[in-house]
Point group: D2
Chain length 366, copies 4
């Protein structure tokens, strides 16, 4: 690596920081990707001020796309982003050849880094996983963020992760979606003192604030696709050391997160949430039964109320409160629920975010 390449490399690395939004994929009625809507979503998110984009993650249902579709998604996101925010591209292909092909493609497109899970489907030994990532790190033309999500793929254990972090410059970070906070703290403790620039992102939105407080560099947060204003507010309050306020927002978010996470297949709840912000998500590739479709309407009504309560008026029309089975319309007067004292002052948040967005950016970080 030449001196200037090394410097460029350094700069590149520093951008994997903050809130990366995992892009949902909108579909057309015939099942194909709705490319126009995806482009609109990219612009909306960047304008809302998220730190980066994270297409082809679990939220982006990468496994349900064909390889060609996955590459197409990255291309669209890169095109529409126009260099405004760094892109972390999911590249969890299922064999080394395809992963390397994806790495080259995404490097050429200018992505900041790729994210790769432990192997999925089979159980694979930790030794094999470590060896595999060492080989990959030697040959990848782009920085790698390891993606630990033991719910869906083989865990990458803390000792393996630590050795990889300390030995492989190409492996620049970890995104941990295990929901295991003791594990996340052990990771920070094992790696950061020896490699402070190793990026530790949390992938569990219920604990975003405590993670930031303990030293996380940011997170990949699916709800930042639905309420980017609120998540960025939480992030900024954390950075500013306004911990009581950050804590208040974190707790406030729990209802919304739980409404979107539970009661239906992942990531249906988040698709519902984003549709309430005005996007046409279409039908998921993982079909729901007719009864589940009906149940989803209830989740939709509940999420709508929570969004309306936060001040997102575009969601208010879909807020229906249930009373013993019957579904009631929201109270009169426009907003579903008057902004309660305990609620979030979203108009203020939005204003603040937009201002910050319009302000001249510090170099290397939007």
């Amino acid at each position: 690596m030449t001196a200037s390449a090394a410097q460029a490399h350094f700069l590149l690395r520093s951008v994997i920081k903050g809130i990366f939004t995992p892009n949902l994929v909108p579909f057309l009625d015939d099942g194909r990707i709705n490319e126009g809507e995806l482009r609109r979503m990219v612009n909306w998110l960047v304008e809302k001020g998220v730190s980066g984009l994270y297409p082809n993650g679990s939220t982006g249902e990468f496994i349900r796309l064909s390889y060609e579709e996955r590459k197409r998604v990255i291309q669209i996101v890169v095109e529409e982003n126009r260099g405004r925010v760094p892109i972390l591209a999911g590249a969890a292909e299922s064999n080394l050849t395809m992963i390397l092909d994806a790495c080259r493609t995404y490097a050429d497109l200018g992505c900041a880094a790729v994210s790769i899970t432990g192997p999925y489907y089979y159980k694979v030994s930790q030794e094999s996983i470590e060896h595999f990532f060492r080989e990959l790190a030697k040959r990848s033309p782009i920085d790698i963020v390891l993606y630990n999500i033991p719910q869906y793929s083989n865990e990458i254990s803390v000792p393996v992760l630590t050795r990889l972090a300390l030995d492989c410059p190409r492996i620049v970070g970890v995104k941990d979606s295990s929901r295991d906070f003791p594990r996340f703290l052990s990771t920070l403790h094992a790696i950061k003192p020896q490699r402070p620039d190793f990026v530790c992102l949390i992938g569990c939105e219920e604990i975003l604030f405590p993670s930031l407080l303990m030293g996380a560099d940011g997170g990949t947060i699916a709800s930042s696709g639905v309420v980017p204003e609120v998540i960025m507010k939480l992030y900024r309050e954390s950075l500013a050391g306004h911990w009581e306020e950050a804590k208040r927002i974190q707790f406030k978010l729990l209802d919304l997160i739980e409404a979107m996470l539970y009661g239906t297949n992942f990531p249906e709840g988040f698709r519902v949430g984003m549709s309430l912000r005005g996007f046409a998500l279409g039908t998921s590739r993982q079909l729901l039964s007719p009864k589940e479709q009906t149940d989803l309407e209830e989740i939709r009504a509940k999420v709508a109320c929570l969004l309306a309560e936060c001040g997102f008026e575009e969601a208010a029309h879909a807020c229906r409160r249930q009373t013993g089975g019957a579904v009631l319309p929201p109270p009169r007067g426009g907003a579903a629920v008057p902004p309660a004292g305990g609620g979030l002052d979203v108009s203020g948040i939005v204003q603040e975010v937009v201002q910050q967005f319009r302000a001249p950016k510090t170099p290397g970080h939007p």
Copy 2:
């Protein structure tokens, strides 16, 4: 469906019966599929008398192939088989469009049926899984065998499976690799009395004989790729009602199965076994660490001894017995181990199988 199509359909169905060998995939040094060796393996297996072939299953590492490679594997197997045995083609693609595309392709090639797992990676509700398979069954041009393997993908519960079996003619059977024998008996009990032609294959080789005894129509048995002579012998003895002999073979096989199943990533042990029968399997796509490579040599030596003990002399040279860490050569005199009284008379088995293979076949079953 016309009358003759229905009849053809009926005939076709009846061939999903007996021992289907899950095809391993041999690789070249550069990582590509070793097509010549795959062709040689197909011929060898058919000549050994297995009932059918099962490419693109878990043993066939379908998940580690690209979609194009998966289709290529089926094409090669079909070509080389030349209609001699029925082919059950794995088609567990990750979305409905691709599954239907695979179904059409494999139907056109003349496969007998496709095998499809529950969704993998995400957790998906049983309701969604049922709905998904109903949709698929409506639109598939080829018969479907549902593949239950909860270790690697979402379970297909017995109630869901039963409803699908009773409602969907296109779903003609189940292959159960859950290792859960009470579940397998419940499946037989729930479906067979109402739909006797529903094919129940066991995918757990340690319990092949008890499964056959209790009413399984056969099995997909990875070790039938390594010792087809022995597995077919077990199958025939079971069919003939020679239960004591079948039981003896089943127990005898346990050591071999365990040696190939445990101590390394699946399906490395089976790749080792088949290499000892004279095939060049090449390097697995799931890399092993250097230490694991060394450990695999020990497994190879152990499997070699077990094969030699069964009379497969081609494996004898690789049999090394360990004594407290040191590895000893096999006893002098050619064969690694003299055919013990408790061993299998393999020369007899082979002769019998070959004779049966050369004999005129009963119609509808090779």
Copy 3:
């Protein structure tokens, strides 16, 4: 051990064979054990011809009794049995001192052996478990049957079990309730060739017949407390090599077993079953919610129908068939359901069992 003691020991061992009925514990309204009813149950079971009794197992809710109550249960069972059948006494106390105290007590009472689970509550290493059982085996005055039930307590792995079986004469058998049939076959294969008298009991009733066929010495079968006639019939048909008949009974039993196993806390379903045979089980120590109590009535109605269908007329009055939510009385004419062609000829079974019971017994086994 003197020569005659050794011989007595040998005779004793041989009696742990066949169907051992895990005794349910009936309770009074004030929560105490209903001793009178327990005595009546013991007599009924022995008269029905079960091979042995197994008090203080999981079915006997040993964990919900006090230590004094557990000892009282054994005393009652021993007293009432009057030496007619061998008794396997659960002695899974939670520390070595108490286990040894229980062993001494049950040895003095004349029990044939004790049954001991792996440690429960904590996760304990396999090495510690092996060491613990070696210590226990050295000091126990009574034969030990290890009880593998990984659902509720630490697994006793096959390698540990094998070493204990081969090294410790006091450990005379295993009762395996893991529902893992491949494991059970591995156990038989690992131990029986080297120690043929090691007793292997299956503790999973759905697979009793296949287990017997593959070499089990018997089973601890909770449903033998509800339909001892049928289970003993299955056992005798298996012993006699009438495998088709045994298989038919096994499948026939699946509905009943599933009705009693699922839909409520274990062992409520079996308590319901036995109450339908005329015993007053009282309220379980594990309280059910009011809704669960109502649900249990449905299970009761279903079990009653299955029992009536098998010819147990005493259960017919409680058989209520559900039609879309409504509960219908059984068809007119006395019996809930006329003994179907596919049913079990229970009057014949009962007669046969009673005859066999009255016939002079072979020494050492009733």
Copy 4:
């Protein structure tokens, strides 16, 4: 309840707050409880300034004691405490009668509250668990802290816990050892706004500080039995809002916690730790194999170094650093390791704690 009783009750409640130390149980060579040493431990802990004592928890191996021994442990702890700190008594007996008996006994002895796990051994439905605790709450003469530890016993789900908290005044708190931080935050969020006095204790020491920060009222922290000075320092820094310092201590503690938690059966590592502080713990009731005993020596050496590094000089003699298999003595000069810049200034801590201990206490809380 009379007015003054209600007031007393209120005062009592407020004392379940801060760091409760789960008491380890020391044993004599003959296996009996070492009562003298237990008394010495109680005094030492109270003098070190812990907020309360928690005998008969999982750390206290309650399951391995007889019922009489469990009651004896509480009696000893109460006697030796002499009213100085509140006592939370584990009362997780295995049936309602015994739990109520324990509750009465511990109430009479003056304990502040009892702690009760979900049922262990069997799987029990959430509905039954809820109903059971409602019954218990109606009849208990002492406040109840529910103890959620799904690793060892049935989970108490957040919805069940929430309903119990809102409906049952007797249920005054929860101790959550699930290691599931999102769950803990959901608990705080679901209950605290509606019942602010409901006590939420964290039982996972790796996340003590983040839990306190997010609103935990304290924790039951096994390592507070080993390094009470450090845990109390962390607690006080958290209360004082010195979050950076609390965070630093939390990370510093991770090595020690991990050394004591992993590599041996729980709670052996903590027994080792406390023995290094000068207590005679004796042999655990859960035997270790000879090899595990040897391995424990390595853990002991490692824990000793970590303690010495923290300034606990009494542990320095046992610190042996391993170099590739050989074990080296600590560097010369007394202390095993010179107090590193990153270390904890323990002499300062101790002084501070002792001063605070000697200072006049606020009423109701030491």
